[in-house]
Every structure is written in structure tokens, then in C-alpha cells.
Symmetry: none
Subunit: 208 residues, 2 copies
DNA sequence: ATTTGACTAGAACACTCGTTCGTGTTACAA
DNA sequence: TTGTAACACGAACGAGTGTTCTAGTCAAAT
């Protein structure tokens, strides 16, 4: 579809206005900028821009215009829910998903873009201290139910109703959950008694 | 300034709503989300958020709310340049700012919003290993030329033309730069020979 | 006990804004 | 010419929306 002169002018204005003001213009603001006296004309051409796939409109909503391709550029990272804490020392009985997301961590597209179902947990305890994961750190996890040997994972132990952060090792029909702290013993269980809930893909520690 | 529970809730909603819809919410939409029946209360707390510097408002304009750090979203702010590496072991002679930003780390407003001039450095060496900062980690720094005792800082040593990552301690007219590794000795220099270039506010480690 | 300040409520007002409708204009084909 | 389709115009309607006013609650200070 080809854009008329007017439509091009309107589209350009919407772009620059949105970039400048952080919110889209109204129909009348567009009309003024494009020297169109009638709001219905703006409305008409706005629908043409929708047909052309350049914008989206939310009906009956003021400034309900969304630039279609600018989304990826302006829309940044994702809000990763911090679901709760995870045990790195003595396992705790609170399962992360039962905790309401109280806080959010805004993380980067670069870090999480390739993953689906990313979430974060705050570490409690020092069982992974030798892996340089301290109590209080945030671990960013990719939700998945399998893991490779050596992955740092969040494992759910149904028998104990515990979630714990450990290194994962498959040994025949068993699974060894290995802490990174000499003072803790590895947990060895039949594979059927271990559910992998996520693999750690990043660690974030705030100092301030 | 401290945010009340309500104000925090409103702010969070404005953030998520704006991210999702590409335009800011109305007063009533905010009220509904924060369970506030009165628009005047929303208006009142909105002004508090302005005072707190979290948002800007355009008066008499629908949806005239601008997230203050939104600029950081479109412009570089949110894209933290990874300027280069920083020595945590043997100091290296490459000064971070002379290195072209080759990669970027997309970090969160939550983590960096309150800071100006945030940048990241990739750690080389193991001198801060006892502080759980490993070689290869990214340290997120706030650009500043002063520091408090105990802060982890990036220090530029003009005499040696070195930048190094250490704990900062002021001792009279001297400055002690303390590694977190028993195998390394602290560096003690006259304060005039130490330039603080930034304080570490976060640490990010990617595992994948 | 009184006052002050911070905060909340509800209602009313006036302007904003998307929508719709009737009408006009122009270009092009039959 | 006639008809049709695309496009434009202006006005009016009604819901959306920011603002303002009065009043109330509560805790801390006087």
C-alpha cells in the first residue's frame, strides 16, 4: 500500500512526537501538525495507516496509537519476577512459585532474550559460596525441566518439599545435587525424586 | 524521599502499563490498578512522584506522564556500554575509557535508575575473589570521583597508568586499595596519586 | 486538648478527545 | 453524463480525563 502525502506527514509526526513526549499524540494534535482541520480526516487516514501496518490503534482510548515497528526499539527489557528465595545452604520449605512476586528485577534483552520463562530467585544460604554465589544474590533462571551435568539448577525435591540450588549431575538412575561448599554434603536421590525447575543463566548482585 | 506503599504501587503500574501499551495510563486507570477510588488521591500521589523525581507531568494533557528514566530507555542509559576490562589481579595498563565500547549490556532501570553515568567493566584477574567477584564477571559502576571506606571502586593510578578494582580505604592523606585475595598485597599511595573513577553498584555474571 | 501536616475521599466541573454523521470534492470509468 | 469510490470537511455527541473544592481521618507535635 502506498501512503499519500498526508499520511506520510502524519506518520512522521506521530513518530517524532512519540519519541519526544514519550506518549502518542491525539487526533487533534496530529491534525494540527499535518494542517488538517477536521478530526475525521485524521481519523480516516489513521485507519489507512493501520491498514498499511504502520501503527496499531486502541479504540475509544485517548492517544491510543502504537507505532508498530518502534515497539522493538523503544520497548526494552522484560520485567523478570523475583519469585522468592532459594536455598543454597540449608534447604527451605517454601517453594518459589507459592510466593507472590513481591519485587521485580528489570533485566536485559541481551541477557534473557533467547530464553523463555525466565525468572529470578534470591539466594539464601551459603552452600554455593565456592561458586561465588552468596546469600542475597539474585540468580536468574531459565525455566526448564532438564539439565546437563554441571549446570547450576534449582531443584525441587517432592519427597522433602524443598527447593534447593545446586550443581546437577546425572549418575545412572540417580541424580547428585552437589553444593559448592565443603561443609555441605551432596544430595543423591533417584532421578524420580528430583524435579529440575530451572537452570541458572546469570547471577546479579547489588551492592548499594 | 521515601515512597509510600501506594506510591510504589502506582509507580510500578505506570512502568508496566507504559511498557505494555506504549502510552502512559490515565489517572483513573492508575487509580483502578492501585485500588484508589478517588482521582484526586491519584493526582496527589502523582505529584509526590514528581517531587521524588521519578516522573514528569504535562499538565492539562491526557496521559501526560513521562517516566523520568524513560530517556535512558531510548538513549544509551539503559544500554550500559561495556567499556573494557578491569584488573582485579595484576593491574593492566589499558584505561577503560580508551577502549571502544564493543559490547553492550542491557541492564535494568531498577538497578541503575538512581545513578548517573553508569557503565560496566569486565573483570580480569582474581584479586577480588574473596569478595565473590570472579574473572569474567561484569561489574556495574556508577561514575563518581569520591568513595567511602569499604566501597569497591575502580581506581586509576596516574603514576602507574593503571586501573584496578579494589576496596577503598582512606587513611589520613593516604589511600589504601585493598584486594580481596590473601595472595595480593594492598596498594597504599598518597591520595593525590589515586583517582576514583567509579563505585561498583552491582555485579553480573552470565553462566551461559 | 489543640493544632498542624500528611494523606485520603467523593463529587462536581470543564475541557479533551475519539467517534459518527451528513455533506462536498475530485478523479476515473462506463 | 452518470455513477462510483476515494478522500476531505465541519459540526455535534458523549464518554474520557485532568483539575479543583470541600471534607474527613490519623498521627505527631505543641
Amino acid at each position: 500500500m502506498e501512503l499519500s502525502n498526508r499520511q506520510q506527514r502524519m506518520y512522521d509526526f506521530i513518530r517524532s512526537f512519540t519519541e519526544e513526549n514519550q506518549y502518542p499524540p491525539t487526533i487533534r494534535e496530529i491534525g494540527e501538525a499535518a494542517e488538517i482541520s477536521s478530526t475525521s480526516v485524521v481519523n480516516y487516514n489513521l485507519n489507512k495507516l493501520v491498514e498499511a501496518g504502520l501503527i496499531e490503534r486502541n479504540k475509544e482510548v485517548s492517544r491510543g496509537i502504537r507505532l508498530q515497528d518502534a515497539m522493538a526499539r523503544i520497548l526494552p527489557g522484560r520485567n523478570i519476577p523475583i519469585l522468592g528465595h532459594i536455598a543454597a545452604g540449608q534447604p527451605i520449605t517454601v517453594f518459589p512459585e507459592s510466593v507472590e512476586a513481591a519485587d521485580t528485577l528489570d533485566l536485559a534483552v541481551d541477557v534473557v532474550s533467547r530464553h523463555e520463562g525466565v525468572y529470578a530467585l534470591r539466594v539464601q544460604g551459603d552452600s554455593m559460596i565456592d561458586a561465588l554465589v552468596d546469600s542475597g544474590d539474585l540468580v536468574i533462571l531459565n525455566a526448564q525441566n532438564t539439565a546437563n551435568n554441571g549446570d547450576m539448577v534449582a531443584a525441587w525435591l517432592p519427597e522433602r518439599e524443598e527447593t534447593t540450588l545446586k550443581y546437577f549431575f546425572r549418575e545412572g538412575n540417580s541424580v547428585r545435587l552437589q553444593p559448592a561448599n565443603a561443609s555441605y554434603e551432596p544430595i543423591v536421590l533417584p532421578a524420580s525424586q528430583v524435579e529440575i525447575h530451572g537452570k541458572v543463566i546469570a547471577i546479579v548482585r547489588r551492592l548499594d
